[in-house]
């Protein structure tokens, strides 16, 4: 094991903690709008400090104008995603186990766009992966429907975890 593995472990834990903090935000009834502002403010500040500390701040002025436009549009979209995710958690009874899978599956969209726009080659495995994404989303939706039916007293939920819900 060397330093590279340590950094990989750090990335794994940090990316996992994002999901956990979203759950914590829901448990403390944090407002989606406030969470979105707070995340982007601190993350913007941390990356600015990182660029200043590593002497790479000058790169910001050298960044091509087109990249500014792309970053702005994509940043707006990401903010909308955080707002929708936090609001969705409220309606999903705060289930991070399934909601976090959906947000991760959204990485299939850049794959589709890369195929369409950049004419990236489509392997049979890629097609299988994209079909499985759709199947997974449908199954997670079905899970949510079972939750709603159970909450309305229409049907017992077939559960993998028998413990009562914590929140």
């Amino acid at each position: 094991m060397h330093l590279g593995h340590l950094f990989l472990g750090m990335a794994l834990v940090a990316l996992g903690l994002i999901g956990i903090f979203h759950k914590v935000a829901d448990q403390y009834r944090c407002r989606p709008r406030a969470i979105s502002v707070s995340i982007f403010f601190w993350a913007g500040l941390f990356t600015t400090v990182y660029l200043l500390a590593t002497g790479k701040a000058a790169l910001v002025t050298e960044t091509p104008g087109m990249l500014y436009l792309v970053a702005t549009v994509c940043g707006f979209l990401a903010a909308a995603a955080i707002l929708a995710f936090q609001a969705g958690l409220r309606y999903g009874k705060g289930k991070i186990a399934t909601s976090w899978v959906v947000i991760n599956l959204s990485t299939s969209l850049p794959t589709i766009l890369s195929i369409v726009i950049y004419k990236e080659p489509v392997s049979p495995w890629k097609i299988v992966g994209l079909i499985l994404v759709a199947v997974a989303v449908l199954l997670l939706w079905k899970d949510k429907q079972i939750d709603e039916a159970a909450a309305a007293g229409l049907a017992p939920a077939a559960t993998a975890s028998s413990s009562p819900k914590g929140n």
């Binding site: 794994l12 707070s38 969705g88 991070i96 399934t98 413990s163």
Partner: protein
């Protein structure tokens, strides 16, 4: 409503991440990754702040602390992946292990720590979703 919100999140998050592919297509990823991320975060802040401050003025302590936790995790996640690549870990390992492991970690925490009930459909969706992400990473 959950499905509607998750579909909005699915589309906006996916499109938001596509910027990295555009940057890669322009051949600028190596040099401008962190300046891009900084601009990306500040753009998200501008939109979020415009929405928030149109109706609100104050934050609770929890909102500030959770925001710091989320932001630190996001930046450390990106930094960890970039540094592990710099230290010789192959890209196909980094891009599979870090997001995939993180997802597994969250699902496990949801079920075991937060005691979330997940139906057999949900478990199947999680397993198939993880398999799909694995296939898309390696394909």
């Amino acid at each position: 409503m959950w499905l509607r919100m998750m579909l909005i999140c699915f589309v906006t998050n996916g499109l938001g991440a596509f910027g990295l592919r555009i940057m890669s297509g322009m051949g600028l990823s190596e040099t401008f990754k962190f300046p891009y991320l900084m601009l990306w975060f500040w753009a998200g802040f501008i939109l979020s702040a415009a929405i928030f401050f149109s109706k609100n003025r104050r934050f609770t302590k929890q909102e500030v602390l959770v925001g710091i936790g989320l932001a630190s995790s996001a930046v450390l996640g990106q930094l960890g992946m970039a540094l592990s690549l710099d230290h010789g870990i192959p890209g196909f390992v980094v891009f599979q292990v870090a997001p995939g492991g993180g997802l597994f970690f969250v699902v496990l925490a949801g079920i075991l720590f937060f005691k979330e009930r997940v139906s057999v459909y949900g478990v199947a969706g999680i397993v198939i979703g993880m398999a799909a992400l694995g296939i898309l990473t390696f394909a």
